[in-house]
Amino acid sequence: MTPVPHDLPLGLPAPVGVLTAVLVGFFLMHILFVTMMVGGMMMVLVAQIRGLKDKAWDHIAHDLAATITVNKSIAVVLGVGPLLAINTLYTVYFYTANALTGSFWILIVPLVAGAFLLTYAHKYLWGRLPVWLHLGLILVVMAIFAFVPLIFLVNVTLMLTPDRWGEVQGFWDAAMLPNVWTRYAHFMLSCPAMAGLMVVWLYRRKADQDRAQVIRMGYRWLLGPTLAQFVVGPLALITLPPTPGSQGLAVAIFLGSILVAAFLCLVAWGELKRPDALIGQGFPLVAGAMVVILVLMGGARHLYREAALSDHRAAVAAKTEAFRAESEAARTNP
């Protein structure tokens, strides 16, 4: 039996369309910076390890590390708007999922704050720490960056399945919901890809002697994980739980994005084949394709969310209204 709790008996502060636009639009921007931050950290780690043998890579790693601290500040601040919007649009769903995974939900605060402090230590103490400690710092940061997305994913998955709310006991139990791990893999693969795109963008106009080498690395980071997404993406799609509403359009868009991804891979492949002097020219096309994919994903996710919840929300609204009326009656004629 699916629970139908009441919502807060206050109207929404803005039309649903406006709140949805804030939610989906800013969330995409937030996730863009998050993936660049997480993927960037993976890249720094690899470059730093290669830098143990080859000084040039150490230099590149240091350069990349500088982007992380900027991306992380922007990532956090951009997350606040969508958080506000999801609080109003999906009040019952979001708060319920938060409470049921509460021990881990609140851990986000110390974990991320700690990871950010360590990121600074890693960046500003470059060259001043023993190698093992410097690598240790980034490994700890990486572990945290890999775990926090899971906390968020468990929450947004749990919030869409009201029929499971009465069953889950704690975070790890909720982490076993269908779709969590495939989606997690899908997200974690997008991080190196996005970081790859970011370094192409950063080095494209540089007159650096490492320019071509770094751009090639960027494209490889983009291409490899994106090819893997042709397997992981459909898995994430297949494991989506069935919904009361129709998923037709959402699924069609997800499938459409596969075509765009294929196009992206082709262009990126072409870029890798170019001579050093010309590499990077295809960037606008690749980046454009990525933006299209992001928008399609964000849109389809939203449609899926609606398919999962619109009936339930109607039931919640009816129950809330009945409660409001009953309360008013009790108040006016005791």
Binding site: L84, N98, L117, F171, A330
Partner: protein, 471 residues
């Protein structure tokens, strides 16, 4: 009330929010709102005097502020949302619905603030010479934006204490026109500047060497700044403390509350004067004999200012009780206007979730009592009491009854009156929200609790069950 209830039994839910929120306020006031204008002023002064030592010092102080505000500062800010959405979702959810646009604008200002601090910090080296003037302007712009962020938030805090006209007109503007708004903003501004001066003095002593004459020049200058802020802390504090009772008396009309409050108010007053005196004393020393200012000794006024900030937040919390949003919602997350319904028909007919009795609880059910009643009592307890109390931790209900009744069995005939009139004896508790039958059931649960020493589990670990299925 219809969200699964997250509950921390040992530390208590309120402490979780308090720790995060107070940490955030300390960082925000001491390292952003107050410190950034000081940094920008130092940079400006150095440029005017052509003295690079000021520039270097300002830069190092900014670096420190930057490290903390963009990590712990930013995350505790988000943490206030995350923790309140766990601890009192009904309250934060309602506030967001009312203040969405206020927070949205605040968010835009905050984005600007983050971009500005990144920019200010990262361009310090490169914007030299002709661009120095622009860099200094950037610093002052950052100072303004930091203050504006605070100015918006304070309206929401004022609203939570006294919604005033909102109860009738439901508009954002009534938050700003709230009677506590300006005094609170003035007090926070003065406090932030004073606090930041203490932080800066401390940092100067760390960032300069003992044998460097510049150290004493800097200590003297910041001390003058601190001396200038002290009187404003007292003045604005007095203004704030003088408008608070009106608001509070509008909330509660009982003598007891006033007595309690006077105690807090006296303490706030004394603390304010004490902290200001300490700051002024140290600052005076810094002006007269800058090399006498001891590094560790500075901790005393610094801690005093931090205590004052913390105490101020506690008083603010306190005078809000029993409400979480003045006259609209009690701290238990129940709306005042729904009380007639709950008190006649009961809370549980409108509750979706049930919190199954643990093994220890089931084992402790008093002879003759029905499991169904004890279960109902626990559910009411979860809804009506756990937002402020724990079973066995901070502000524990078991502790209170132990103190009042000792080891005699806590039979309902002894506890029901306490529960029924608790809002009169302890005016910062809301009236009991449920029906008379539910009151008896809670009393039965409390009797069960007498021998249960394990912590009460919240939804985050024990999960919840659907009431209709459990029945």
């Amino acid at each position: 009330m219809d969200f699964p209830i997250y509950h921390l039994d040992l530390m208590g839910n309120r402490l979780l929010v308090a720790v995060i929120a107070i940490l955030h306020v300390l960082i925000n006031h001491g390292l952003a709102v107050g410190l950034i204008p000081l940094v920008a002023a130092m940079e400006w002064y150095g440029a005017r005097k052509g003295d690079p030592r000021w520039d270097r010092l300002a830069r190092r102080i900014l670096f420190f502020a930057f490290l903390i505000t963009t990590t712990v500062g930013a995350l505790t800010g988000v943490g206030i949302w995350l923790s309140t959405s766990l601890v009192n979702p009904a309250s934060i959810g309602s506030l967001i619905r009312v203040f969405f646009w206020g927070w949205f604008i605040e968010w835009l200002v905050f984005i600007t603030e983050v971009v500005l601090i990144l920019w200010y910090h990262l361009t310090w080296e490169s914007w030299q010479g002709a661009r120095k003037a622009a860099h200094i302007r950037l610093g002052f712009a950052l100072a303004v934006f930091s203050w504006v962020t605070m100015a918006i938030i304070v309206s929401i805090l004022g609203f939570m204490m006294d919604p005033g006209n909102w109860l009738t007109d439901h508009s954002l503007w009534s938050g700003f026109t709230n009677p506590i708004y300006l005094p609170q903003l003035a007090f926070r501004t003065a406090l932030a500047l004073c606090f930041a001066a203490m932080v800066a003095l401390m940092l100067i002593l760390f960032f300069t060497r003992r044998d460097d004459p510049f150290r004493y020049q800097a200590v003297r200058a910041v001390s003058v700044f601190a001396l200038a802020t002290g009187p404003f802390v007292v003045l604005a504090g007095w203004w704030y403390a003088s408008v608070v009772p009106e608001t509070m008396l509008a909330n509660l009309a009982t003598g007891l509350a006033t007595m309690q409050f006077e105690e807090w108010q006296d303490r706030l007053f004394l603390g304010m004067i004490g902290a200001a005196a300490l700051v002024m004393g140290v600052a005076q020393l810094g002006v007269w004999r800058p090399h006498w200012v001891p590094r560790l000794g500075l901790l005393v006024p610094l801690v005093a200012v931090m205590w004052l900030t913390g105490h101020f937040e506690r008083v603010r919390e306190f005078i809000r009780k029993p409400y979480v949003i003045g006259q609209y919602m009690y701290a238990n997350g129940l709306r005042v206007e729904d009380y007639p319904l709950y008190q006649s028909k009961g809370l549980l007919p409108y509750a979706t979730w049930t919190y199954p009795l643990s093994q220890a609880e089931t084992a402790a059910i008093p002879a003759g009592a029905s499991v169904t009643d004890v279960q109902a009592g626990k559910d009411v307890f979860m809804i009506a009491c756990t937002r402020c109390h724990t079973a066995n931790g901070v502000n524990a209900v078991r502790g209170h009854f132990q103190r009042m009744l000792g080891d005699d069995p806590w039979t309902p005939d002894k506890t029901m009156d306490t529960l029924a009139y608790m809002h009169e004896a302890r005016p910062f508790m809301p009236p009991f929200p449920g029906s008379p039958a539910e009151l008896a059931q809670v009393a039965l649960y409390i009797q069960t609790l007498q021998s249960v020493t394990e912590p009460l589990a919240g939804a985050q670990s024990a999960g919840v069950k659907l009431r209709e299925e459990a029945r």
